[in-house]
Structure formats: structure tokens, C-alpha cells
Symmetry: C2
Subunit: 140 residues, 2 copies
């Protein structure tokens, strides 16, 4: 179980790094955390499927280059581990605002490191919770 807890903690750290790169507009950090061998996938809110490294990272480059910084925060991240694949579910919101998106992030283990291979974010019909009421991210 210690190994499983370590793996979950590593996945959550990569998930947190994703939102830090998003908020900082740091394309180099964003590129570094996506998988290199697995095929990359991404559904941005309302968008059609982006597929492959060029499409997925090209779209992130455009998003991160556009001012102002988005201050995209992750709430209630939960890791579900299945061998060398991890599914993270969470909510996303801008700064102090209540989360307005639901997200599924999928990570795979490559060369001993957890890397993102899929991001799917879509709108919540109503904000899930105010950040002040959001539970802290957990390993559940």
C-alpha cells in the first residue's frame, strides 16, 4: 500500500504541475509533463478531439500565450490508480471563483515518471462549490 500511496502522491504532483503550468503560462513546463510515447488526447471545453503531440501541444501553446494569465486552480483532485495508468477527476476554476469546469486527467507511467496523456474538461451546469467550501485534494 505504501507503493500505491507513493504512486498516487506522484500522480497528484504531476496533476498539480499541470495547473501550475496553466496558471503561469509556462509552455516549457507544460510540454515536459505530457507523455512522450503514449498518443496524446485532449478535449478542451466545448471543443472537438485534439490528437497527437503536435495538435495537443500546439493548442496549449496558443492558450498559454494568450493574456491575461488564467489562474486555473484545481479543486478536489482524486486519483484512481490502475497499474501504470491513473485517472484523476477534479474541478477547475479561475482564481477565487467557484469551480466552473469538471475535468478528467489521465496519466501513464513512462520511464518511471507519471505523464499526462489525456485531458478532458467540460462546463458544470452550476458552480460545484466555492473554493472556501471545497475539500482539499485527497489520495482517495
Amino acid at each position: 500500500m505504501a507503493d500505491e500511496d507513493d504512486a498516487k502522491a506522484s500522480v497528484l504532483e504531476t496533476n498539480a504541475a499541470f495547473y501550475r503550468a496553466f496558471t503561469r503560462g509556462d509552455i516549457a513546463a507544460m510540454r515536459a509533463l505530457w507523455a512522450e510515447r503514449a498518443e496524446l488526447l485532449c478535449f478542451h471545453p466545448g471543443g472537438s478531439l485534439l490528437r497527437g503531440r503536435a495538435e495537443v501541444l500546439g493548442a496549449w501553446e496558443q492558450i498559454l500565450a494568450a493574456p491575461p494569465p488564467l489562474d486555473m486552480r484545481c479543486h478536489e483532485a482524486q486519483v484512481h490508480l490502475h497499474g501504470e495508468v491513473a485517472i484523476v477527476t477534479c474541478y477547475e476554476g479561475n482564481g477565487a471563483q467557484a469551480p466552473h469546469l469538471a475535468a478528467t486527467n489521465v496519466f501513464v507511467l513512462e520511464g518511471g515518471r507519471w505523464r499526462m496523456m489525456h485531458h478532458h474538461a467540460g462546463p458544470l451546469a452550476q458552480p460545484a462549490r466555492g473554493p472556501a467550501r471545497a475539500r482539499p485534494s485527497s489520495l482517495n
Copy 2:
């Protein structure tokens, strides 16, 4: 590669069974295709996270019991295999209408059978394609 193709075909069959159960309002078939050991997860369009067998299948029971039948069709399903976990991306639409939802379906291998453990569907900003123009589901 034959084994991988077989696995992808099995995943696509389970994915198709999910949309058949959805369209037919068949809760028994729906229950039978979800995982029994893995924790179940579900984001319905606009909804907060449903978690665990009781919450996820309870919500499906309500959805499938509500007339009229939804005739939910799956378009452009693509399988991405990672060992005993498979990620399917697709679009969803009602009957002959253009797809209006993007979906991520996650399957895990349990007792030699692929079972659904996560469904995440969210609205497309504009219909992706008319069904007549949709590519057939593929093993890519």
C-alpha cells in the same frame, strides 16, 4: 499486434454495448457492463462527480427509466490501449441529429472482460459533424 487488435475490438464492443443499453433503456445490460472491482466514476453533462457503484448505477437507473428513449448514438469511437486500461474517445448524438457531446469512456480488464469504470460526457460548443459525414468507428 493481433492480441492488441483483439483487445481493441473487445473494448469497442463493450463501448457499443454501453450505447445500446443507453438507447434501449436496458438497466440490466447497463449494470452488466460496468466494472465490479474498480471504483466507478461518472460525469454526466454539466453534472458533478458521481462515485461508487450505488451513485453511478443509481443515476443510470433514473436516466434510463425516463421516457422517451434517448437513442444515444456513438460516433468516431477511438480506442487507446494501455495494458489493462483502455480510453475511448467519441462523440454522442441523438438519433439522426449531429453529435452534440464529447465523451471519454474508460474501461478496465476484470476477469478477462473489459468493463466500464468511468464515463465523462460534456457539451460540444457546436455540433462536430453530421452523422452522414462522421467517420466510422475505428481501431486507431
